[in-house]
Amino acid sequence: MQGSGIEVLFLGRNFLRLLEGLWVTLRISLIAVLLSVPLGILFGMFMTIKNPITKAISRVYLECIRIMPQLVLLFIAYFGVTRAFGWNLSADISAVIVFTLWGTAEMGDLVRGALISIPKHQYDSAYALGMNKIQTFGYVVVPQTMRRLIPLTINLTTRMIKTTSLVVLIGITEVLKVGKQIIDANRFDYPTAALWVYGAIFLLYFLACWPISMLAKRLEKQWR
Amino acid sequence: MEDKVQLEVTGLVKKFGDDTILDGIDLCVHKGEVVVVLGPSGCGKSTLLRCMNGLETANEGTILLDGEEISSDGKKITQLRQKIGMVFQSYDLFPHKNIIDNITLAPVKVQKRTKKEAEEQAEKLLARVGLSEKKKAFPRELSGGQKQRVAIVRALCMNPEVMLFDEVTAALDPEMVREVLDVMLELAEQGMTMVIVTHEMQFARAIADRIVFLDNGKIVEETTPDEFFTNPKTQRAKDFLHTFAYEKRRT
C-alpha cells in the first residue's frame, strides 16, 4: 500500500470508531459537568458561610482535591477505593465520581469568587430599598453573579473534556485506545497510521473544545 | 524673556478619525516665556501639548524646537524629548522605583550620565521642592501633591529647555494645589520656558506672560493675562470666563 496513509482513517468503520471512542470521554465529562454545576453552586454558597467550621471543612476539601493531579485522584478512586470498600467500581463510575468531585471543587471556587465579587454596597442598597435577604439574593446578587459565572462554567467544561482524556490510563476504551487498536490492526498495510490516527484524535479534541472556548470568550467580552 | 524663538508651531492640524481636534494652530514660544493655554474642555489644549512632545503625530503642520522638527518617528524624537520635559495630570511616577530612582532613571539610562552626578542633581532639586527626606520613599507613600512635585523634579533633572504642564493640578485635592503651583511659579521666575494647560484661573493670571485661548481647535484669542481676564475681546472668551465667575459667586 502506497500513499500518505491517511486513507487508514476512512477504512471500514475506523473513523466512526474514533468518534465513538471520543464520545466515551465526552459522555463522562458531560455527566461530570451536569453533576458538578449544581453541586458546585451549593458548595460555593457553603464556602461563603461565615463559620470557622464550615470554612475549615470546605477549605480542606478544596485543597485536597486541588493539590493532587487528577490522575492521582483517578488512581485512588479506581484502585484504592475498590479495595478499601470492597466495592467493585467500574472504571467509568470511578471516573465520573472523581471528575464530579473535582468539578464540584472547581465550580464551587468559581461560585464563591463570583459571590464575593459583589460589593457590599449592592447588598446595602438592596436592604435600603426594603428587600429581604431572599429578595436581595434573587433580584440583585444572582443576576450579577450569573454574568460572571456562565463563561467560567463553559470554560470548566472544556477543562473537563481535556482532563477526561486521562481515563485511558485506567483502562477505559476511549478514543486513544481505539486509535491504538486501529494502528495495531493496520500495522503492515499502513505503517504511518500512527501519525494520521493520533493527528486525527488531536484534531477531534480541538474541534470538541475550541468552539466551546470561543463561546466562553465571546460571552465574557459581551457581558463585561 | 528673550527674543529667541524656542518653540514654533505652524499650521498644526490633528484629527482623530473624522474629528478635527486642532485646526491650524500657529504659536511661537520665546525663550524664558510662560504661555498658558486656556479653553473649555475638549478644545484641544492637551492634544496641542501632546503634539509638542511627539506623543501624538500631527496630520499637518510642523513643530520646531530650536529649529529642529518634532515628529513622532524613531530615534530623533527621543533626542528631542530630552529637551522638552512634560508633566502629566496623573503624575505617573514609576510605582516600582523609589523617588530617587524615579528621578535618576532617565538621566542615567537615556543621557548616560553617571549615577552619582544624577543623584546629586536630583537631591538638589528635591531640596528645592522641599522633599529631601522622601528620596528613599516609594510613590505610594506620598500624597498627590508630593507625587506631582516629584514628577516635576523628574522632568527637570533631564535639564530640559522647555517644560510642558498638562493640567497638573486637576487630579489633586484642593489643599495640595498650592504646593505644586508654587513650584511652578518659582520655575517661571528662574526663566524656564513653559507651556501650561490649566483650569486654575488665578494661577494662570499670576504666572503667564501670555494667554492663549483655544476653542474648537483654533486659537481664538492671544493676549496678555491682564487684558484677557479684564477685557476679553471675543464673545467665546467672555462666555468661558463667565462660567468661572458663576462658580465663584456660589462659593
Partner: protein, 235 residues
Amino acid sequence: MGFCFDIMQSSLPLINLNFEFMQKYLPLYVDAAILTVRIAFFGIILSLIVGVICSVIQYYKVPVLRRIVSVYIEISRNTPLLVQLFFLYFGLPKIGVVWSAEVCAIIGLAFLGGSYMSESIRSGLESVEKSQIESAASLGMSKSLTMREVIFPQALAVSVPGVCANVIFLIKETSVVSGIALADLMYVTKDLIGLYYETDESLIMLVIFYLIILLPISIVASIIERRMRYAGFGN
C-alpha cells in the same frame, strides 16, 4: 476526597501497612520523583521562554507573528496534554521526527505551558497604564528601555500569581507522561499495583511523593501571591 476515605476505612490501623514493601520500593519512587521533577523543571523553563516571546509579540501586535501566536495558543489550550504527547511520541516518528520519551514530555509540557504562561504574562503587560509608557516616552526613553525599566517590572507583579498557578498546574500535568511509558510516579505506582497488589501502600507512597513535590511549591506560591497583593504598587 477519595484518598481520605481510603486512609480512614481500610488503613485506619496504619500498622496494617506493609512497611517492608514500602521500604523496598522506596528507591523506585525516588527515581520516579526525580524524573517527574526533571521533566517539570525543563518543561516549565521552556514554557516561560515561549510565554515571554508570545506575550511580547501579542503585546506589540507584531504583524503576521501575532496571528501565528494566537493560532498556537488556541491549539495548545484546546487539546489535552496526553493527546499532544501521543502525537509527538507515536505519530511524529512516522515522518522521521524521533525524540526520546523524555524529550517528548518536555516539549509537550512546553507546548502546553507556553500558551498558559503567555496569557498570564500578557495580562500583566496589559495592566500597565498607557500613561506610564507616555511618561517614560516624555523622558526620552526608547521602546526597549521602556519595556525593560517600566513595563516589565510592573507587569511582573501582576503576572506572578498567574505564573505560579501555571507552575503548579504544569507539575500536576506531568502525571500523564506515564502514558508514553516514562517511569514517573504514576507509572511506578501502576506497575507495583499490577505486580504485587499492594494497592494501599503504592497509592500512599504516590500521594506522599506528590505532596513532597507540590506542597512546598504551593505554599511558596500562596506566600508570593499574598505578598504581591498587599505590596501592590498602587499609585
